[in-house]
């Protein structure tokens, strides 16, 4: 009886639609393109852009200050030479991973529910990686020499150290950004053609027309297009795994206790996907409400994303557990001290907050009543975003501040510039997202048409 009920309940869950019934090819095209073309720009858009742009200005001010005064404006000092900048870098790049996961891995796994969330998740990836890329460059101290990171015909008789994970990082992150951009733009081309054909003003027609490059939906073009899209997905899948693996090498290859650990790559990748899905939910939930997109981004999407969060969150929890276990099992005095210091040292409260935000609160996702509740999901997503930032803080700062010799120990705290740059990067991210949803279709129109057609043929 109990199992019967259970199977009925799981049937009910899987029958949650990925698109609400009653949509046609025309209605779906009109509804999504109208947000860009005809609907009045809502007031919250102006408010959102204005507020986030203030933060962007704060960011620009801080960058100017960092360039003129120097990197000493950050709170970094030996022994903690990697402060907020690296914490924020890892946090942002992790957030980016969900976009690629949704667009590439779920495409290869033929998960239809990805189709209404992939576009803005990919945009989120781009903007998050852009924010991430800012931090190591600012952290260089002399950002105008950032091109030294790349191999180029230089007269200085030196080339980048290719045995260093920091150089691998340059290649991984720049490749990741480029491939994400190509993938995103390739997906946009047919939708840009749709906007070109719907736009009534001369200027938007011209701009969308130039961007669509004369796309006309030819069968032969679609054939090559789908092949290229699939191949890009296949290429992006190992890429996304490699990017956070390389980021974890930045730490794992070093000898610092708390960094030098083989579990880092898988645990970083899981953490990246975890924080990325949390950010997608944080964006998707207000967006569908504000633009009335509940028909396209349904409860099914939110619930599935919650499930991915729960699964990756458990992997992250396993990572924490193994770190603790290995610290004890290694018998290494420095490893053992690192773990004791992480839990009960001066930054111990951060560790316990991280466990609360990242591990304990998300356990609510096990319960049906909670993971189908939009407000609860939103709260959990925000909690994970904070938790993952704390995790990187604990890894970067708490490991560095007491490594081997007590004489070399020290304390660290972020300065006002650290906090301002973090807030500014969030402002930049939000501002770019607002501009994106205003000028480009935030849901892939042609993929939604495919979905509508499939639903129609299924019901016939």
């Amino acid at each position: 009886m109990a199992t019967n009920q259970q199977s009925e309940r799981s049937d009910a869950a899987s029958s949650l639609p990925i698109i609400e019934p009653g949509h046609t090819l025309g209605s779906i095209t009109d509804q999504i393109s109208s947000i860009v073309l005809t609907r009045r720009t809502p007031r919250f858009w102006y408010v959102g852009v204005a507020l986030s742009f203030v933060l962007v200005l704060v960011l620009f001010f801080c960058i100017a200050a960092l360039i003129t005064v120097g990197v000493g404006l950050f709170g970094i000092m030996i022994p903690v030479a990697w402060g907020f900048a690296i914490v924020n870098f890892v946090w942002w790049i992790g957030i980016g991973h969900a976009g690629t996961l949704i667009s590439a891995i779920l495409l290869l796994l033929r998960q239809k529910w990805r189709q209404s969330i992939n576009r803005f998740a990919e945009a989120m990836t781009l903007f998050a990686v852009a924010c991430a890329g800012l931090f190591p460059i600012l952290h260089l101290g002399r950002p105008w020499f950032a091109y030294w990171l790349f191999p180029y015909p230089s007269t200085m008789a030196i080339q980048p150290q290719f045995r260093s994970p920091l150089v691998w990082d340059v290649f991984a992150v720049s490749t990741y950004f480029t491939v994400s951009l190509l993938f995103w733009f390739l997906g946009l081309i047919p939708d840009l053609a749709t906007l070109r054909d719907r736009a009534r003003g001369r200027v938007p027609r011209f701009i969308y027309g130039m961007l669509a490059m004369g796309w006309r939906g030819s069968a032969i073009h679609w054939h090559r297009y789908e092949m290229a899209y699939l191949l890009l997905a296949g290429l992006a899948t190992p890429l996304v795994v490699s990017v956070h693996t390389v980021v974890s090498f930045d730490f794992a290859v070093a000898l610092v206790p708390g960094w030098h650990s083989t579990i880092f790559p898988p645990y970083f990748v899981a953490g990246a996907i975890y924080s990325g899905f949390a950010m997608v939910l944080t964006i998707a939930i207000p967006l569908r409400k504000l633009y009335g997109l509940e028909d396209f981004i349904t409860m099914r999407h939110l619930k599935n994303m919650g499930m991915v969060m729960l699964a990756t969150g458990m992997i992250v929890a396993y990572g924490y557990l193994m770190e603790t276990f290995m610290a004890w099992y290694s018998g290494d005095i420095f490893e053992k001290y690192m773990m004791m210091n992480r839990m009960f040292g001066p930054y111990g409260w951060m560790y316990w907050l991280l466990i609360l935000f990242n591990i304990l609160i998300p356990q609510a996702l096990w319960f049906r009543g909670l993971h189908t509740n939009v407000r609860v999901l939103f709260a959990i997503a925000v909690s994970v975003n904070i938790g993952m930032w704390l995790e990187r803080y604990v890894i970067v700062v708490v490991s560095l501040h007491r490594d081997f010799m007590p004489s070399a120990w020290g304390m660290y705290s972020g300065t006002i510039v650290d906090y301002a740059v973090l807030a500014g990067s969030i402002g930049l991210f939000v501002c770019l997202l607002f501009i994106f949803i205003r000028v480009l279709p935030m849901i892939s129109i042609f993929e939604m048409r495919e979905l509508v057609h499939e639903e129609e043929t299924k019901s016939e």
Binding site: D197, G217, S242, E450
Partner: protein, 185 residues
């Protein structure tokens, strides 16, 4: 005389276009046109339709081959970039370690492989599709703007050796086209 008339038509129009209201009717029409012997034609749809490209006689897509080539070039050039810098161009002895420490070169070689493969996928599909193409005759048909919304089109081009305006029009009528348009060149 009839011959002269058709040759004038060949110059004066790009082709004849039929409009359909569903992917199924378009697919059937495309198969019918191929069976009638038309070869120079193209179908237009607001989303990719399985089997449509094959129905109008298109089979091989060279995109995977381009991506493979791009990936191979990326892999070798990525590795050689590091090998040259570390062994030939700027050798630095770090604690007596081998100059060609190839395991450490794998991550960058991998990233460059992905980068060049992805670039060739993206630019490959654009070049093979002949994009960007600012002008194309099919856009002269006013209804064609619905090809990016909910309408499906088949265009038989005038350069097809079997094309004659009357025959093509009759063909579109038999397969149930909802509109038949002459496409200006």
């Amino acid at each position: 005389m009839a011959d002269a008339g058709s040759s004038i038509n060949r110059i004066s129009i790009y082709g004849l276009m039929g409009e359909f209201d569903s992917p199924e009717t378009l697919l059937a029409a495309a198969q019918g046109a191929y069976a009638k012997g038309f070869r120079r034609m193209d179908a237009y749809s607001p989303f990719p339709i399985d089997g449509l490209a094959e129905a109008i006689g298109f089979h091989s897509s060279r995109v995977p081959f381009l991506v493979l080539i791009g990936g191979i070039i990326g892999c070798f050039s990525g590795f050689f970039l590091q090998y040259w810098a570390s062994v030939i161009g700027y050798p630095i002895n770090v604690g007596g370690r081998p100059l060609n420490s190839w395991p450490a070169f794998i991550p960058v070689a991998f990233e460059v492989t992905i980068l060049l493969a992805a670039l060739s996928a993206f630019f490959g599909v654009l070049v093979l599709n002949g994009l960007p193409m600012p002008y194309h005759p099919v856009f002269n048909v006013e209804r064609f703007e619905l090809a990016s919304r909910n309408r499906f089109f088949l265009c038989i081009e005038a350069i097809d050796p079997r094309f004659d305006p009357k025959g093509a029009r009759e063909f579109f009528e038999t397969v149930g086209a909802q509109g038949i348009y002459e496409v200006d060149p």
